[in-house]
Symmetry: C2
Subunit: 337 residues, 2 copies
């Protein structure tokens, strides 16, 4: 089957290619009657502009890129990214932008992917996740002048816009809630310590614990996997002064922690309270259901997509806070026995 082109439309309408282009793009230069005739023909023959031709003649590629930089075994189970993708997609599809995805292993490889995408003119912008300290990706994006939006922060990204959520506020709220319940020994199992938002959370956790006079604010670094989260939990629970509450940096580790507690014969929430960051259906699924810090991840993603599209359109975008997490108490938190 042959793809229809504007030349086909031009022939049928008895006008030139240029007129068709103006008509379909809502540019001035054609009469309203002609425009409607052309649009009707385009509709009738099922015309879609060839994206390559469009991209080639200076316009945008109408596509944005996203790299996923976690190992496959984490990606497959971590609901966060899929939620984020769903959110992007809703926004991108509405403006018929395509989403191009690539899984990478390291930040260096990710930079290479950006360079290639840019060189190939395959995408108009990228969404960057998991901001790190002195992130190698930022200077490259700036040099390439590739429109970008960073998710996670706040951090130093120069002119590149950031979308971030108030992690410090959320963790402060959580610790206050747990101490209100009567907990004095609160621990935390964190995500990858290299990530900026992990550091933000750790700092805020230490601060609020100090402010409340809790002197055993222990953060055990982990890597978002269930295995590591379980191991970290076991290490926390075998000590003499075991914590009565643990906050986890993602839902997967929290669920793993719950399993470890049950395996060790500890009652949840009787002997141990558990709070999961990022709520997901997973948290309501287990027994008892987990108290969680909920935020609308899809909306978070949609927000980032909107910012990126604005940046691509050349608008000045600034850092915005979106989707602050709020505590959703469920069955896994209670006063300590």
């Amino acid at each position: 089957m042959k793809r229809p082109t504007i030349a086909d439309i031009a022939r049928r309408a008895g006008v030139s290619k240029g007129a068709v282009s103006y008509a379909l793009n809502g540019q001035p230069g054609v009469s309203e009657a002609t425009r409607q005739r052309i649009v009707a023909i385009a509709q009738e023959i099922g015309f879609n502009p060839n994206s390559a031709a469009r991209a080639l003649s200076g316009a945008s590629a109408r596509a944005v890129g996203l790299t996923l930089s976690r190992p496959a075994r984490i990606l497959s189970i971590e609901p966060f990214f899929m939620g984020l993708i769903s959110g992007f997609e809703a926004e991108l599809a509405a403006r018929s932008y395509a989403l191009t995805l690539q899984v990478v292993a390291t930040p260096e490889q990710e930079v290479e992917v950006y360079r290639r995408w840019w060189g190939e003119r395959r995408i108009d912008g990228v969404i960057v996740t998991d901001l790190r300290e002195n992130d190698v990706r930022i200077p490259v994006l700036q040099k390439l002048q590739l429109p970008a939006v960073v998710i996670g922060g706040p951090g130093d990204t120069g002119k590149i816009a950031q979308v971030w959520s108030d992690d410090a506020g959320a963790i402060t709220e959580t610790v206050r809630y747990l101490t209100a319940l009567g907990h004095r020994r609160i621990a935390r199992v964190s995500g990858l310590p290299g990530l900026l938002h992990t550091q933000t959370r750790t700092r805020a956790f230490n601060d609020v614990c100090a402010a409340l006079g809790l002197n055993e604010a222990l953060t055990v670094p982990s890597d978002y996997t269930g295995e590591e989260g379980g191991r970290a939990t076991r290490r926390l629970l075998i000590g003499a002064d075991r914590p009565t509450a643990i906050i986890y940096d993602n839902d997967v580790m929290a669920v793993a922690g719950l399993a470890v507690a049950q395996e060790m014969g500890l009652a949840v929430p009787g002997d141990l309270s558990i709070v999961a960051w990022d709520d997901s259906p997973l948290c309501s699924l287990v027994h008892p259901p987990l108290t969680a810090l909920s935020r609308d991840i899809a909306e978070y993603g949609a927000h980032a997509a909107r910012e990126l599209l604005a940046a691509i359109d050349g608008k000045q975008v600034s850092n915005v806070e979106a989707g602050t997490a709020h505590l959703t108490p469920r069955g896994s938190t209670a006063p300590p026995r």
Copy 2:
């Protein structure tokens, strides 16, 4: 920053554009010495061919499409798709094909996306998941002559290649295992009943149960969500002749089922044995860890990607079986009390 083009390389090498194109694509028509000089310059200035220009001049777009057709709340938690994506990606990245993703709500919308992608010449082929009976997508793909690979089946897809796993064999093995443990009342909570592989599983389940003389082979249709899975489990367990074993069509429903059993005071595996289809880290995370039907989903995806790339290259591809699931016994199955 300006993107380097073959014209830039040609100028620096003192040859014509055509010579550069031949040299970089390994075509005959340039001497080995010139080729090396050109390749060296391309490397030095970080040249990447403009994908739009390439796609426009008849070559391929070097991209494939994938639509995700489950609601966001399922996608976010269902590890299957992310596993599949990781597998594709590994294969696609190796041949520097891009993956374009779109989330859709209905098969009709999906068909529209295929039409648009085809019209825009955005992709060279698509991967189709969740084959249904009399699937509306198949005739469209055939008419557009868009290279495609179907995951799931076997079913009637004409010339479009299929990659499928032996679901019937896997469920037969599982039922045999459970009866060997002594179970006589085995139930099943299935996925979406419209999907072809759900029907295949149901038929095989009924067959093996009949063959083994189990006359209460009940399949409760569900939709892969935890909520529905939990509800289906509750319905099964409140009956007088409640099953002593339940097989779930995905891991999320199995985990939800486990929570329901625990909530109802039933011991797993003492009072109820649970088997999850598709293993994932989630299954090992809960307590007790779930016996599961494991298969290498990433490899399954990689296989599909290889088939698709072969189809794009114009090679004749045939239906292949890949990644048959095998039973991984863990703590959730035991002889009934």
